[in-house]
């Protein structure tokens, strides 16, 4: 180990001298808020929509940029000048759709594990009439969904997609609205239906306990069907008639014995019957 490399010789001192010299030289920091560094005219970092001198937007949704974008990150939509129909360009909403289909699959319900084949088509004539009457207005989504459910029995994926194209709202949002409300069904209402009114009057009469019992018996949540689809739990409506007991209807006709365990026994009998019928 020769002496020079270990004892701090010239190298370290030269380095120290340099730092001391640099201590008094001009600094390179740009004091940002006070001093703004000039940006070259060819700078492509500014992503903004340009307005002409009259204040109108220079973009007329010709989709050149969206088409040319190498990483397909531009998602744009526009309405034609007479605001008749809505035009939309952007990466196909596979993410949203795929997420829905996978959400359905993960929710445990038997959904065929198909990857590419499209959803079952529906006859869209009735749906177009509804959309026309609702003026393609995404703000009236709830009424559109209710009328579609009355027309088709349930809100199929095809129906939701058609509504999405018609009103311009995202499929994800429409799916969210549909799955939020209990009285909207996403698949066919098969088998028996328990409808329980949950207005304050009926709740005082014990509707809450009935719903809890039924949810336990059918092992599902309010607004959905039992796993094998035998019995559905639906919201009913007593229109404020404030009867002496909670309004519980089975397939339409009123159930008189409204004690929670009685109703639960009835539900499990129905499921057993459905199971035996299924086997036979």
């Amino acid at each position: 180990m020769d002496f020079k490399t270990l004892v701090p010789g010239i190298g370290i001192l030269k380095g120290m001298a340099l730092t001391m010299r640099r201590m008094f030289q001009a600094k390179v920091t740009v004091q940002y808020p006070e001093v703004v560094q000039d940006i070259s005219p060819r700078h492509r970092g500014r992503l903004q929509l340009l307005y002409d001198e009259y204040g109108t937007l220079k973009c007329e949704t010709c989709f050149q940029c969206a088409a040319a974008c190498p990483i397909e990150c531009i998602d744009m939509g526009g309405v034609d000048t007479k605001s008749r129909f809505h035009v939309h360009w952007g990466p196909a909403e596979q993410y949203a759709e795929r997420r829905e289909e996978s959400a359905l699959r993960r929710s445990g319900r038997p959904v065929p594990d198909r990857t590419f084949d499209p959803f079952a088509a529906i006859d869209t004539a009735a749906l177009d009439r509804i959309l026309a009457e609702e003026d393609y207005d995404p703000r009236r989504m709830l009424t559109i969904l209710e009328r579609t459910q009355d027309a088709y029995g349930s809100l199929t994926v095809a129906a939701l997609k058609h509504i999405s194209h018609g009103t311009g709202a995202w499929y994800a949002e429409i799916y969210g609205t549909a799955s939020f409300y209990d009285h909207l069904r996403l698949e066919e209402a098969s088998g028996h239906v328990f409808a329980i009114c949950r207005c304050p009057a009926c709740t005082f009469r014990g509707a809450g306990r009935v719903v809890a019992a039924l949810e336990a018996a059918l092992s599902t949540r309010f607004g959905q069907a039992s796993p094998e689809g035998a019995v559905r739990l639906e919201p009913g409506d007593c229109h404020g008639a404030s009867p002496e007991r909670a309004l519980v209807t089975l397939d339409g006709e009123v159930v008189h014995d409204v004690a929670p365990d009685a109703v639960a026994r009835m539900a499990s009998q129905l499921r057993a019957a459905h199971a035996t019928a299924g086997r036979a």
Binding site: I10, G15, L18, V28, S40, R42, R44, G45, A68, I71
Partner: protein, 408 residues
Amino acid sequence: MSTTPQARVRSLDDPELYVETPATIFDAIPPYPPRTEREAEFYSVREGEMLINLGPQHPSTHGVLRVVLKIDGERVVDLDPVLGYLHRGVEKICENSDWHMVVSHCDPLEYIASMFSELVPVMAAEKLLDVEVPRRAEYIRVLACELNRISSHALFMGWLALDLGGLTPILYGFIERDEIVEMLAALTGQKLLFNYMRIGGVNGDLNHEFMSRLGDWMGHAAQRIEDSQTLINENEIFVKRTRGLGVIDRETALRMCLSGPPLRATGIPYDVRRAHPYGVYPELEFEIPTREEGDSYARYQLHLDEIKQSIHIIDQVLHKLPDGPVMAKLPRLLRPRPGRAFAAIESPRGQYAVYAMSDGTDQPFRLRIHDPSYFNLQSVGLLTPGHLIADTMAIMASLDPIMGGVDK
């Protein structure tokens, strides 16, 4: 002590994986059975040895690299790099995008020298399309690439010093880089991912702002970089820590598929600009600096000489710059004839190549990206065992891997 008992193979869906496991049982030993005898031999910990995770979130791995060190006290017994933390599947994405998009997807791979990572797919596409690039565009490409090489080398020297504990060289490195990168921003419009190369030429011609900045930068370039490196060049502590560290001889260098500064540090003058000339490099006169020792210090010194060579090249390019268009006439939709093309260039870290296959449609059939850091990083596993933990930092920094390119 043999390997710890392995739990059954667990898929990502397994709810048990998401149960909050107390920190005490976390260990670098993976929860699945060893897949090869090398992995079994690595994860069997003998007496006195300890497995420690270096990364993926660690101050001195250049990006998201995880290295599992098997250490005995401070000495590294064995090391197993784990990649994939930054893997985005760029090759698969490129197979689903057309040839223009491929250039943009390849941009952020070697993001410190993104001019090079754009140039390679462009050259591959041009070979497939048999298009002839105007000479002025070729010269501008060389000019932009050499500028980017200098900024990348300046950063490299700062990082090497930072990994050895010096606080100041990294700042001087960034000052050099910022000056060059602002100049390139005046030319291309961007500072990190330039997106300046086009199939058939370059995006825009030289403008006055770029030329004026280049002019006054050329004046003091070499002197200032030389000046700020005196901080490290003869610094006894720096030399002591890097001289004789991670020595590779010529034979192992070739066997380990090294390329770029690590290969030239062992004395083999392999530089793609001379070995397989592309663009206008045959007409430019420059020589390839090499060293004999092949250790970290030699790799560091090489970068300094290469900066001088690059400045010399830029000088010649500015004198020989021909006039003419900067972009060849090409149809908007590119459908190269079915075929294969292999294009390689000399990036600051080594030989950066793309093997493109076309099947006649507008999307590449297969786009293989050969990144120099991927193959240089391998020799960390060869060089580090036997040294101390502090040396793993020095060796990895001297090999200068960029994780964007390694993980693709």
